[in-house]
Amino acid sequence: MAKEFELNEVEVWDGNYAASQALRQAQIDVVAAYPITPSTPIVESYGAYVANGYVDGEYVMVESEHGAMSGCVGAAAAGGRVATATSSQGFALMAEVLYQASGMRLPIVLTVVNRALASPLNVRGDHSDMYLGRDSGWVQIDAFNAQEAYDLTLCSFRIGEHLDVRLPVMMHQDGFTTSHKAQNVYPLKDDVAYKFVGDYVPVDDMLDFSRPVTHGAQTEEDWHYEHKAKQHKALMDSRTVIDEVFAEFKELTGREYKRVESYMMEDAEVALVLLGSSVETAVLAAKQLREEEGLKVGVVAPRCFRPFPYDLVRDALDVPSLKAVCCLDKSAPGGAMGALFNEVSAAAYSTKARPIMTNYIYGLGGRDFAVDEAKRIMKEQKAHADAGHITTDIQQFSGLRGPKLGFFQTRRG
């Protein structure tokens, strides 16, 4: 029986340690891991919990991230609660197996500490790896700070393992900005946390020899399409389960999460849409601009990146006063508009207000996102709103040194 870990009402934890504590409290059967910066401390701390008797489950050291996720798939198919952690190149090496895990409907929890992808090699935080997981069929949840990394890791087990969902879940936090920044964290006691997560209920587990099953079968044009459509439906239907789990978590802790977080949007004339720790900086900038200049700025942040909350993003942007919206993508767009811009624009197109939409790329490779820069972008949106059309290139780059870079111009106005 695992020992109880003594916790204070308030701890000063960074995002990595917060996630590792949530993993410990979930009493996982198997963690198969291969460490990589900046998520290394998650599995390092978890290994220490196992060694010191705070976890009953197995900790499997493997030869690569491909092996780590493969180990997770095997253990999950066998019928256990399973989790691991990774970042960046490790995430990329897992990519093949990520699709296996979701297609086999195995509710693995992957705590991802977002980091840039090489080349050039870079250990710092951007959203390249998170975006790489976009079409992998996993639920993707985004924590903006260390407290949220703790809370949402606990919630991830509940969401993925729910019998109406049965899908793997990625819990994202920003490399260094969140993973290595210590702040006040209010953890739950071990028994309270475990009671919230609940006992694992196996489905079609391979270790149930009385009822043999096949996992990872081959289907060609006869059935593949039906399986993928069903998988997509499960992902779309997980929205209500996510809402329920968040509601129950609020009941327990008072801390409220929504699939789309919306700040000061009631009377907003301009808004930023973005992901990750930068959301907090943007909200601070919006508050300051409202006080300093009376500029009505709001912020919208998809907490749930997949399933993409098209419905709630549309609701958040369907504000009569809203004139201009800027979507900020923290991932190299690779010859396209930013992915968040594309998805949010599609949702905004079905609103009555149909605000002006622009795109900024920012923060690649951990480039600092400043409060003043957030304010500058907000004021630029106000200029678009006043002119009635986009007064700059549609896609621009924030905080980039060298010549100004921009692409595409509007034909409206």
């Binding site: 308030v10 701890e11 000063v12 960074d14 910066t37 250990v123 710092r124 700070n145 260094f176 900005t177 969140t178 290595h180 920044k181 210590a182 702040q183 006040n184 720790s277 930068s278 907090e280 900086t281 909200v283 601070l284 951990g366 600092d368 996102f369 400043a370 409060v371």
Partner: protein
């Protein structure tokens, strides 16, 4: 909001010091951040650590800050780092050095109009005498308590004992002595 920037070398304990300070402050009901910029830095490389302290939850995730206090915990960094970067008119400097305050300031042009808000303490010698090796991170916090008047020395010592509780008693005692000496010796 109180903001602190540490100038240190990787391996001198600035991150541990920043987290230790954060842990003490959090027990008093305040909100804290403790973070660093190091990444793939090697031992001995110049680096910064940071603290933010406020009564309200802190949502600023920008790395850069305009510090209220600057701690320089490696003597040479006072000469080679841009320690007055993003300075405010009332930023206070606590610098580890064996030099007198006058000698130090006379050699650092950036500090010459800041004599009234520059303080010196020899955390290297203090930690060598007490802990037995150059570990300037805890003594600098003793000096900080004196300059900032954030907490009474006794309260801070008691709190730091809890933060250091996983260490052997001998090391805890040595750290308490180092903090007390820096508190008394900072000028």
């Amino acid at each position: 909001m109180t903001e602190i920037r540490w100038h240190s070398r990787a391996g001198q304990g600035a991150v541990t010091g920043a987290k230790g300070l954060g842990s003490v402050v959090a027990t008093t009901g305040k909100q804290v951040q403790a973070y660093a910029l190091y990444g793939s830095a090697k031992r001995g490389a110049a680096m910064n650590a940071y603290n933010r302290i406020d009564d309200e939850p802190i949502t600023n995730q920008e790395t850069k800050m305009f510090p209220d206090y600057v701690f320089v915990i490696d003597p040479a960094l006072a000469f080679t780092d841009d320690i007055t970067k993003n300075d405010k008119p009332d930023t206070q400097y606590i610098i580890t050095t064996h030099l007198s305050k006058e000698d130090l300031i006379s050699q650092i042009p950036a500090l010459q109009d800041k004599a009234d808000r520059t303080f010196v303490v020899d955390c290297m010698q203090i930690s060598l005498d007490t802990i037995g090796r150059a570990m300037p991170n805890t003594p600098i916090l003793g000096a900080f308590m004196k300059i900032s008047k954030m907490y009474e020395l006794d309260f801070f010592l008691d709190s730091m004992k809890k933060v250091l509780s996983k260490f052997p008693q001998k090391i805890i005692d040595a750290n308490m002595e180092a903090i007390t000496r820096a508190y008394n010796e900072v000028k």
